[in-house]
């Protein structure tokens, strides 16, 4: 197994860190554009229509994660 690069470790550290309260508030309180909101809703509509049951949604995510982790 190859060792992760320093850059990859740095990215992992960054994405796994706990943000500060100020960062969290700034992120969550930032206004949401209509575009961002519609993108989220469109994604949810597609997913719910394509995979109407909870079991199908979970199964999709397992397959998607398996594909992603093979890369």
């Amino acid at each position: 197994m190859t060792q992760p690069s320093d850059a990859l470790i740095a990215i992992q550290d960054q994405s796994n860190r706990t943000v500060s309260v100020a960062e969290m508030r700034a992120y969550l309180d930032a206004p949401m554009s209509e575009f961002e909101r519609e993108q989220i809703l469109e994604l949810a509509r597609w997913f719910r229509l394509r995979y109407p049951t909870g079991a199908q949604r979970l199964s999709y995510v397992r397959r998607a994660y398996a594909r992603w982790s093979e890369r």
Binding site: R17, V19, M24, M32, G54, A55, A66
Partner: protein, 158 residues
């Protein structure tokens, strides 16, 4: 690559049948609500008195606890693993990074049921409570998840 033979619907069904007070939290809860986010793990918040009951279910799926129940209770969390990785939070209450104390009993009382099929369902926190659980670790990806959940909640589509 992860073994895909794990029957997660059967796992959830067995948990529900066991009577263990277990809430699915984390990204798989978002998936059930209709958000296609990637995740490798299962995350549960379990009543501290139901560890043995939950572990008995897990044993039937070849999942083994990393710590004995008493040690897990002392630490407030443990892991079940064997191919799958199941994080189990068993603290009675957990603070968010903002200092809000979130108690299992209150979250359990406000829980919602997410359907898996015509016959099976999973207990999840309400969306506001799910948002709070995302603030326990408050990683950047948790904040993204909260924003998505907020959109679902506001549009009443969840």
């Amino acid at each position: 690559m992860k073994d895909t033979s794990f029957d997660e619907v059967a796992f959830f069904r067995a948990i529900a049948a066991s009577g263990a007070r277990a809430l699915l939290i984390g990204r798989r809860a978002l998936v059930l609500l209709g958000l296609p986010v990637l995740t490798a793990d299962y995350d549960f918040w379990l009543h501290i008195d139901d560890v043995e009951r939950f572990n008995a279910v897990a044993t039937g799926f070849d999942l083994a606890a990393t710590q004995p129940p008493e040690e897990a209770r002392r630490r407030g969390r443990y892991v079940l693993e064997n191919g799958e990785h199941v994080n189990v939070l068993i603290a009675r209450s957990v603070p968010t990074v903002g200092g809000v104390i979130v108690t299992f009993e209150e979250v359990w009382a406000r829980r919602q049921s997410a359907s898996l099929s015509d016959t099976d369902a999973v207990a999840l926190p309400s969306i506001p409570d799910l948002n709070l659980t995302k603030q326990f670790a408050a990683r950047p990806k948790d904040l993204e998840d909260i924003r998505m959940l907020q959109v679902l909640a506001r549009t009443d589509e969840a």
